[in-house]
């Protein structure tokens, strides 16, 4: 059975792109979220194997969402998606419980490597 992924990003473009990369690699996209609050909600509904999380989102950012998700499920596997120059935020996200990160613009191979590390 393929592994389930929840994609959290406020930009449709990024969600589509990530979704395509992951789907082509055999993952099942079980849900999407546009805000941090939605991400927390969907996580509890869907229990995905992996969450990809944008850092900057309206209504609770990605970092708070990671904190909330890992508080409820310490085994949660969250992969942060960051832009260049957001190192301090990525560090904060890791301290909040994120397992790895990828940097935009996304290269499919980099994304999949990071996903393997998080799931491996």
């Amino acid at each position: 059975m393929s592994q389930k992924v929840l994609i959290c990003d406020d930009a449709v473009f990024m969600r589509t792109m990530l979704g395509d990369i992951l789907q082509q690699a055999g993952f099942e996209i079980v849900g999407e979220a546009e805000t941090g609050a939605q991400a927390v909600e969907r996580y509890q509904e869907l229990h995905p194997d992996l969450v990809t999380m944008d850092i900057v989102m309206p209504d609770m950012g990605g970092i708070d969402a990671v904190r909330e998700i890992t508080r409820k499920d310490p085994a949660a596997r969250v992969l942060m998606c960051s832009a260049m120059g957001q190192q301090a935020l990525v560090v904060e996200a890791i301290q909040a419980g994120a397992k790895d990160f990828v940097v935009k613009p996304f290269q499919p191979s980099r994304v999949l490597e990071a996903v393997q590390r998080v799931l491996g």
Binding site: A88, V91, F101
Partner: protein, 634 residues
Amino acid sequence: MSSRYADLYLTESRDHLNAANAALLELERSPNATGPLEALFRAVHTVKGMSGVMGFGPVGELSHQMESVLAAIRDGATRLDADTLAVLFDATDALERAIAASVTGSDATPWTNEVLARLRGLVGACAPASSAAGLPRQSLPESMAAEALDVDVCLLADTSLPGARALLVLQRARSLGDIVAVAPPETAFLEPGFAGTFSFRLTTEARDADVERSVRAAGHVDRVALRRRSSPREVATPEASARGVDAWDAGHAHAPLERFVRIDLRRLDAMMNLAGELVIARSRLAQLASPYRDAELQDTMDQASRLIGDLQASILSTRMVPVWQVFDRFPRMVRDAARDAGREVVFEIVGREIELDRSLLEQIGDPIVHLLRNAVGHGLESPEERVAAGKPPAGRLILSAVRESSAVVIRVVDDGRGVDRAAVLMRAKAMNLVDADRETLSDDELLRHIARPGFSTAREVSALSGRGVGIDAVITRVRALGGALELRTRSGEGTTVSLRLPVTLAVIPALLALVGPETYALPLTHIRETIKLREDVCSTVRGRRVLLLRDEVLTLRALREVVGLPARDEAGGQVVVLEGAERRTGLIVDQILGQQEIVVKPFDPVRGASACFSGATILADGRPALIVEVSSLI
């Protein structure tokens, strides 16, 4: 501690530690030589004396114990074998870290305790009378003491957000045990200068292989080196852990340079700027004064002229430092890299007194480390392969610096297997980068392909081509510094990589070109050649203008368009051929005025201004000229 004594102490200690490492390397080659032993003795002794004055107890104790061992070796009481050397190498490392820790005011004992015990063991082993009293052994059973392991990690050169990645490495390691010290401290991971080289001390019961696997699982890890500490009890105590999560200087290419007087580089930049303007004012003044034919005025002008020239030269020289300040750390690094890779290497540094602009030198350390590691790991063959190829078992590696007119050329030369041209050609064909009927590649083409991101990272190619990953990162850095990289390689005979760098970043050679009424400066480092614009060299491919240059087709752009001037007839214009890391572009200008050294002045981009300018300069006639950011056009 921020007194100027601390700075002096740090600077001098580094020199002595470099000398100590050099002496140890010498001893490793010829264990019976007395010269290096004495040099080592002197270095350690001086450090001991200075540390005493500074009140740095742990450093003093460590250097004292090293001295005792060296005295025992000199007196023939202790044998200088491989084990002894290994302890002395480790002790020198520990000394460096303990010094760095002491200067920052943190506890140095986590770095000294364990190696102190080993040093005492060396003296004790041959002096049974003192050993019973000298070695109060911890009464803990072995199984209860977690093992302390020093882990050095180097991330891949092209790692994004290396600080965050390093943090992931630490998190992975924490799942195996406790981290009792990190260097540079975790807070430094976020600093812009952090390039992904760091170390930490882990107390763990996990096996080395598991630790390494775990560290690598964090991703983007280039190298991991593990050094097992045999006497862990001292560093594993809670007090030590609490205080120990501090800094020791990971050293290598990142260490601050010698600094007797600390001057903010920005102040020197400001002075450099003023001197530059003064030079310009001088030429205008000379022009204005010449019609008067007044001997006294002329004399005064000449004198002022000379003084201004001297002033500029001496300000420029304050920015210059000899390359040995960075190079002297490399012999040790090469030795360690050679050991890791199972290579024998004779390493030589030539031209260590050559001077470079300090900000440049600081930034060129990492790329050189990269090239040296590549040469040791991929360029040089194993001793067996070398012998089979009819070469001496030890490979030769030379790092040289030479001044060539307005540039400094740094070369990394190895006599290894050379880049596998056929493998690169095959890969380039597979990627449709060259025509399928090409039979060979020139050195320049070779470099251009290897440097293509995603080309050299293909594992099978880097293994075959004999160049590791990351040459693209090296090129990017060198280009950013206004330099250029060149590759020369011969199959079976070796490879030479040359970095051509400007001597300083403050004054650069540039080509001045006229477009309409305006003069623009194009940095020479990115210019390959200039040619006349003739109809037979221009063409149109898919609606885009191109330049036909020998067997190449280059994109053609007009500077006139780039800077937003109205188009006009280009007949009689000239083309400047610009060269980037992978591509060339032709740039049309109205007229080329000539070549000139220009003083680069900081440039505050105006709202709405084109992003294609990197700065400005003032020409001899007092008019300003914009410096074109050439890499943005390629």
